[in-house]
Structures are given as structure tokens and as C-alpha cells.
């Protein structure tokens, strides 16, 4: 049972999230106009014209191997017309969020850049599964994978002292990391991470995917993304990419495979696919 003290601790962290992980004003505005059915592409171009640093980073990403366009994307106007609202929004999120994951995350014993390596590998894996599922927007799936562990960054800032107890509880054995977080803190890193996505005004599907990436059976039945992220996370943990003390101390929910129509024999080729893209 969550005590009032733990609930108050959770609320205290949530109230400070905007200051802790601020998203650039331009990205918040992009999210806003991409949700507005009356916005048009020129609104997006005008907005980006005011933030040349963001334009430079988006163009760099648009011209990277990840997107693989035959011709170089030279202007933001060209990028917006070619890629559209959603992809530009995902690119803006990717370039803004990635630096947040490059710091060390001491509570989980993750060295510098390890959380980024992990998040990027999960993002690549989620996109691979999404393409296989003929998901409408695989880049959206990439962002979901990239953001799934944002709660670890929050807990590292706000719950370092309590994390000693989390780790000691795991050391005693016979408990997975999510249960240990919940027992000591009253909530897990997925739950607090979902609050970041809410503050950033991201989609309900993304909020729910972050929240339940370790408990996908608790998500709404129409949310397939949460199962994609759950499986990609499992594969990347097995490969040991950017794992901390929590390591492989999680549960895998096989129902996610059934829901996506994946078989045992699909898992190892997916791991190879992730390695090939990294």
C-alpha cells in the first residue's frame, strides 16, 4: 500500500518536473501546433525560423543515415514539406532529449552515456518491431523507445538517498527491480517518467507507454506501442547495452509477443537487426 508520505513524495517530484527537465520552448510549441488541426506547414516553418540552433540540429538529423534520404535536405522549408509535422516533431524531440540521457545516472550505477546507448538501442529496436507490424509511423515508435526510461533521470535527481535502500533490497534477492522501487519509493521509474511526458504535453499513447513499459498488461488494449517498447527493452537488456545495477532484474511478459504476433524464433533475428543498425 502506498503511504501518504510516499504519495506526497511523488507529488513533490511531479510538481518540480518542469524545472528539472525543461523542454526547449520551440519543441513545446511544435508539439502544440502539431496537435492543432487548424495549423499548417507554414506555421511550423515560421516557428522553426526563429530557432536556428534547432534548425541546424534537425537538418543534421534529417541528413543522417538514420533517415537515409537520397538527396540532401538543405533547408527547413524543404525538411518540413518532405517530412511533415509528426516527423519534424519527433526529430525536435530526439535532438532535445538525447543530451539529457548522456549524463551519468548514479542511482542506477550507469556511467556517462550509458543511458543514452540503452535508450537509443531500445528506440532502434522499437522502430524495427514497428516496421514489421506495419505501424503507421515508425519514427513515433523510435521516440517512444528513446523516452521510455526518462523516469530514471528524474529519480537520479530526486531519490538518490532512497535508492541506496532500493539497491539493498534487490541485493537480498528474490525481488525484481520494479517491485523494489515500488516498495521503497511507492512508485516505479515508469510512473514518474510518464509524468514527464504529460508535462511535455505528449500523446496519451506515449504517456501510457512510458508508464507501463515494464507492466504492459496494465496498458489500454489498443496500445500496441507499449508492447513494442517492452520487447525491445527486453532484447537490449539481454544484449547488455547500457545496463546498470538493475541489469536484467526485470520480468518479461510473454503476452506482449502474442499480442504482436511474434514467435520465439523472431527474437534472436530482432537482436541481430538491432546490432546491425547500431
Amino acid at each position: 500500500m502506498v503511504t501518504k508520505e510516499k504519495e506526497a513524495f511523488f507529488n513533490e517530484i511531479v510538481s518540480g518536473l518542469t524545472d528539472l527537465l525543461p523542454l526547449p520552448t520551440t519543441v513545446m510549441a511544435i508539439i502544440q501546433i502539431s496537435k492543432n488541426p487548424n495549423s499548417n506547414l507554414q506555421d511550423l516553418v515560421k516557428l522553426l525560423d526563429k530557432d536556428q540552433s534547432m534548425v541546424t540540429r534537425i537538418l543534421k538529423l534529417a541528413n543522417s543515415a538514420q533517415y537515409g534520404f537520397a538527396k540532401q535536405v538543405k533547408t527547413i522549408n524543404h525538411a518540413v514539406v518532405c517530412l511533415g509535422f509528426k516527423t519534424i516533431r519527433n526529430m525536435a524531440l530526439t535532438v532535445s532529449v538525447s543530451p539529457m540521457f548522456q549524463q551519468s545516472v548514479d542511482s542506477y550505477l550507469l556511467e556517462k552515456e550509458e543511458l543514452f546507448k540503452h535508450s537509443n538501442a531500445v528506440a532502434v529496436g522499437t522502430r524495427l518491431i514497428a516496421k514489421r507490424q506495419e505501424y503507421t509511423n515508425p519514427d513515433e515508435a523510435y521516440v517512444m523507445g528513446l523516452l521510455h526510461d526518462v523516469g530514471k533521470v528524474v529519480l537520479d535527481q530526486h531519490a538518490k538517498e532512497q535508492f541506496v535502500d532500493v539497491i539493498n533490497l534487490v541485493k537480498k534477492g528474490n525481488i525484481n527491480f520494479i517491485e523494489a522501487e515500488e516498495q521503497i519509493l511507492g512508485f516505479n521509474h515508469g510512473e514518474i517518467g510518464s509524468k514527464v511526458a504529460e508535462k511535455w504535453n505528449l500523446s496519451n499513447e506515449l504517456v501510457e507507454t512510458i508508464r507501463f513499459h515494464h507492466n504492459p498488461e496494465q496498458a489500454g488494449e489498443n496500445n500496441k506501442s507499449v508492447h513494442m517498447v517492452h520487447i525491445a527493452n527486453y532484447l537490449v537488456e539481454m544484449m547488455g547495452i547500457g545496463i546498470g545495477y538493475d541489469g536484467l532484474n526485470y520480468e518479461f511478459h510473454e503476452e506482449s509477443m502474442d499480442l504482436l504476433g511474434l514467435k520465439d524464433g523472431d527474437m534472436e533475428p530482432l537482436m541481430i537487426g538491432i546490432m546491425n543498425e547500431l
Binding site: 539497491i167 544484449m239 547488455g240 547495452i241 536484467l248 532484474n249 526485470y250 518479461f252 537482436m271
Partner: protein
Amino acid sequence: MTIYSVGLGEMKFSDDINDVIVAHGLGSCVSVVIYDSMGQLGGMIHIVLPSISANVGEIVLERFADTGVPLFIKKFRELGGRLIYSSVKIAGGADMFKGRNKDSLGIGCQNINGVQECLKDLGVKISNQDLGGTHGRTVKIFIKDGNVVSRIIGMPEVLL
């Protein structure tokens, strides 16, 4: 001292006593380490999966126990390593706290079995090992003396 990192599906060798070869964060992967004490030649391979039968796309033999281990031993011998003076140690092979297919083996366990069987087929004896569990490991070999250490993340190093 130069530290060489061995990534997923890679292998590295050295006979420079100033070198250290390391595999960071082994999850279900298994690292095989070999050292010829006479020639002071050491090597490490980072095996990711048990069998090449799972492969898609580009073939990287070093990723798989059934193709990587024979290649690793072959390369070691080509570089002058002599098995009679060598010790082989393995580490890794963790699995999820609760993984898929409760009735069958996890990938970590399959990797351990795959590596052990391959080494046995090649007539190579394993002198020490640090395997299993649910935590990631970092494994190092110091070329100057062949010492191999394994460290579970957050725990002290163990000499193998």
C-alpha cells in the same frame, strides 16, 4: 596502459604487456578469454547468441557461439598462441529475473551451453568461470600476467 574494448560480436588479441582487454556490460552474452602464459598472448571474444542459424543480413561470425568460438581459437593459434600453455575462462550468460518460455532455457543459458560445447568439441578445457544470475558483468584480462577479473555492476571485482 592501453585499454581495448570488445563490443558485441567482436574479438581482440594482444601480446603487449601494457594492454588490458575488456568487455563492458555483458548481459546474456558470454565472453571467452584465453591466455598463453609462455607467449604472453591474450584474447577475448564477446559472444551474443548461441547459433548462426538465427542470422539475418550481414554475417558476423564472431557474434555466435557455434561460429565465433572456433574462429577465436583458430585466430589465437595463427597468432602464435599454444593451447598447451593456455588457460581459458568464461563469464556472462545472465538471464532475466523472469524471462520468456518458463519451460525452456533463456538466451544466457543457451549461450553458456553453446560456448561450453564448442570449447569441449575443440578439446579446450575451461579453467574458471563466472556465469548466470540476473546482473550485468564487466570482464577484463591483463596481458602482463593473464589475470582475468569479472565484476558484477555495483559489486567488487572477482579474480577468475
